[in-house]
Amino acid sequence: MKVSVLQENLAKGLNIVSRAVSPRSTLPVLSNVLVATDEGRLRLSATNLELGITCWIGAKIEEEGSTTVPARTFTELVGTLSDQQVEMSLSVRTQTLNVHSGSSNTDLKCIDSQEFPPMPTPDSGDAIPISVNDLKEMIQQVAFAASTDEARPILTGVLVTVNGDELTMASADGFRLSVRKANLSSSTSRPQLAVVPARALSELARIISDGDQMVDMILPPDRGQVIFQMQDIQLVSQLIEGTFPDYEQIIPRSKETRSVLSTSSFLKACKQAEIFAREGSHIARINITPGGELKPGSIMISGQSEETGSSQSEMDASIDGSPLLIAFNVRFLREVLEVVKTPEIALETSVDTAPGIIRPVGDDSFLHVIMPMHLGS
């Protein structure tokens, strides 16, 4: 292999794929990045067997070939190169990659690319095109509510459903549920569903390049994988096996009280309460008082700690329904308010043991359910 690339492109590509490198793997080759010539471009791939990322960069190819280069060393080295042009040539016999750039000349010990796990080649047949903006926002609004407890693997995933021209992502960690829908530009022929690790989606949101408008999602039948294909980047993830809970039935159908309030003031109040609720219980108490003839309704949020003290903040809200005192995990509240895009949200509640629902006002594509907390008897 003999290629020459731009330092900037190589650095960017390595940066993207190295997110899938597993630094502490027992398989040494997994700490490496696959570097291979691929139809006029240079392909960089890394995988930890659950998640694989490939990135293609422009290259001048003099001689075809491939090898795997220690990811960390390579990334650090490329970061220090000051010259624009980077020339790489592989000695196949010794598996040594010579990296030459300006006055710098380096030899890297590599591992034969034969040892690298094969990356899937998407048969682009059943690709579902999704707008990048939608996808990024969906991931942001859903992935955080997935569980991190490996004891319940299914809940560490995000349920992705495609039905007609509707794409839905849902996640739940046992205490809260986040659901986001989006319209697809074209209708799919058959309904599809998969549980994608939340971590893979978060990585996807991070690496989606700004230039792309659309991302193709491909669920090759019976492979237990999902592929997200962009112009120059491909992300492959293993799917999580199992049945995702039927979340539709968890969403309460009725409500006693609907409170509409400013998203940013609510978020600010929650952050304040969290300072005090952080140690120990994480409880924020929410006191909902409907307004009267002359007085607007109000919502009071309080957090307290045995050690640091307590905080209360009150804000105006337009409240429809009966008064209620309910407690939530303040972190759950904060996390959902941070991803709501509209200036106002509606908090729907009924009794202090029933879930609360948060919806952006004027946008029914998103909904979030939080279970209350209970102060023991």
Partner: protein
């Protein structure tokens, strides 16, 4: 009904009942006699759990031919002569009752040769009837054989427990005395098996090792203290080693084993905040007090005593034990000579060197009892600077006095435990589940849960019965959020020992400890720098940061001093 004087045999059988309850009481009386006779070797042989034969042989001063018949008659003693002596008792026996009592309920043979006589004698007592002394050639010392105990008191015989139980009582008793008298070579043979054998070389720790195990002996901390006429020596277990009951807290006063609930409480109190509720230390404490300050003549088997100044003794015991703990409980240090295995962090011998040993300040006369706050300070950890994580299991931090290795799991357990207790003072918040979870249990577990539903409620579990042996979990304590609810409930009731019906307080403490254990980060879990920092800070804030709720250490300390020595920097310049 007519009143009549009891025949002498019946009267003495009744009296015997006071002294001799069971085979172990015979062993006790005979061994005490041997000890009073200054024996350095005592061997006890038991057959049929003591009902067949109890034989105690010693190499003590022996009994002269003339005195032999006296020893087995009532109120005959060589140890006391005037009433005043009663207040100055320095021997184990003083009533002159034991041999007579035993002789009235068994076939007793007494063989003895006094130190200053060439001729030994032998005498039999059968149900109280004393035979004539028969001269025999025997080695110096005394052998007492008690055969067919209670043969003439069927009621007693009936009340004896199972053989294993009686044998255990005998063994416990001999073990206690072996420990109290390390200079005496003890041997116990039960049913032709050697069960206890000590060397008599005076090393108490060696006795501990031979009675229990080397491991236990190594875990025991040395107690040594003196407070105005009260000397306390002995051993008490490190906080890493606990028992489920108080039976292994044994006390001796002036060489006499006594039972005293108050003093046992003093020992347990010394462990306050160190041990989980329901866990107890193992201790063997030997108190020495001028005989006039303790009245041993208050209980028929001399098992209880009365102190002139009970409070003084109580406080003394508590302090002595607490001092031993504080001297050793500071973060287990690593030996000077070598980096011992981490699993052996409280090797007392090494630690004796690493810490000012209690007897050091004993000699310097600094025997004041630290005020309470001091104690807390000593168990707290200094502010630590996080360095990083090792093997995804330990957190390395620097303190003003060296390096700290923190076990992330044990440390997190401690943090959660204290948070739980703190929340418990008000109420433990429960996080409601999105979907109630249905959990099935075994019948035994289910009945345990049913019994404890109210307690579970106060601990933040919202659980309802839901059909046979099945429960619906609606909410779990916030601390456990992130754990599968069924598993969270299951960990509470799994492997409670079969017939264990835990006490309420014990159950709660157990549950809390289990909850924390389950919720704590595991060893092998990579933590972010932020998570590590929070863990270290939370640990600093704990009341008892040095042990996990189960008593394992949370950290190991490598002092700068130790590091310098290890690297040969000390004295090199």
């Amino acid at each position: 009904m007519s009143i009549h004087i009891l025949p002498p045999e019946v009267a003495s059988q009744i009296a015997a009942g006071e002294v001799v309850e069971r085979p172990a009481s015979v062993v006790k009386e005979l061994v005490e006699n041997s000890l009073d006779a200054g024996a350095t070797q005592i061997s006890v042989t038991v057959k049929e759990a003591g009902r067949g034969l109890i034989e105690v042989a010693d190499n003590g001063s022996g009994i002269s031919l003339d005195d032999l018949p006296l020893t087995v008659s009532r109120h005959a003693t060589s140890k006391l002569s005037t009433a005043d002596d009663l207040f100055q008792i320095a021997t184990l026996g003083f009533r002159g009752e034991a041999l007579a009592s035993i002789g009235s309920v068994s076939h007793l043979t007494l063989t003895s040769r006094s130190r200053d006589s060439d001729q030994g004698g032998k005498l039999r007592v059968d149900g109280g009837h004393i035979s004539a002394v028969e001269p025999v050639g025997v080695p110096e010392g005394t052998v007492v054989k008690v055969a067919d105990l209670f043969y003439n008191v069927p009621a007693r015989l009936k009340f004896l427990k199972k053989d294993v139980t009686e044998r255990r009582h005998i063994e416990e008793f001999v073990a206690r005395y072996a420990l109290a008298y390390p200079g005496v070579r003890f041997q116990l043979r039960q049913e032709d098996r050697h069960t206890i054998q000590t060397s008599g070389n005076g090393d108490r720790r060696e006795v501990l090792a031979s009675l229990y195990s080397l491991e236990l002996a190594q875990q025991m901390l040395e107690v040594i203290a003196e407070y105005e006429q009260l000397t306390i020596t002995g051993f008490t277990s490190a906080i890493t080693f606990t028992r489920s009951n108080r039976r292994e807290i044994i006390l001796f006063i002036n060489g006499r084993w006594i039972q005293d609930t108050a003093l046992v409480t003093a020992v347990v109190q010394a462990y306050h905040t160190f041990l989980m509720v329901g866990r107890y230390p193992q201790s063997a404490l030997f108190l020495e007090l001028p005989p006039e300050l303790v009245d041993v003549n208050v209980h028929p088997t001399k098992a209880e005593v009365r102190f002139r100044n009970r409070d003084h003794v109580f406080r003394g015991v508590q302090r002595a034990v607490r001092r031993a703990l504080l001297a050793h409980t500071p973060v287990p240090d690593i030996s000077r000579e070598s980096f011992g295995p981490a699993s052996d962090p409280v090797d007392f011998q090494r630690m004796d060197q690493a810490w000012p040993s209690p007897d050091q300040d004993f000699q310097q006369g600094q025997l004041h009892w630290e005020p309470r706050d001091r104690q807390l300070d000593e168990s707290r950890v200094p502010l630590l600077r996080l360095i990083g994580q090792v093997a995804a299991t330990y957190i390395v931090a620097e303190g003003p006095d060296g390096l700290y290795l923190v076990d992330q799991h044990a440390a997190h357990e401690r943090i959660l435990f204290e948070q739980f207790l703190q929340q418990r003072q008000t109420s433990i918040p429960s996080q409601v589940l999105l979907e109630p979870s249905v959990v099935e249990f075994s019948a035994a577990e289910a009945s345990l849960i049913n019994d404890q539903l109210p307690v579970l409620g106060t601990l933040g579990f919202q659980v309802e019965e839901f059909g046979l042996n099945t429960f619906l979990v609606r909410g779990i304590p916030q601390i456990l959020a992130g754990i599968e609810p069924g598993a969270a409930l299951r960990v509470l009731v799994e492997d409670f020992e079969e017939d264990e019906t835990p006490l309420q307080a014990e159950f709660e403490a157990k549950i809390i400890a289990r909850v924390c254990k389950r919720a704590a980060v595991k060893g092998g879990q990579t933590l972010s720098v932020e998570e590590q920092r929070v863990l270290v800070e939370d640990l600093e804030a704990c009341q008892s940061p040095r042990t996990c709720p189960h008593g394992r250490p949370t950290m190991i300390h490598l002092s700068v001093d130790l590091l310098e020595r290890q690297f040969g920097r000390r004295g090199a310049r």
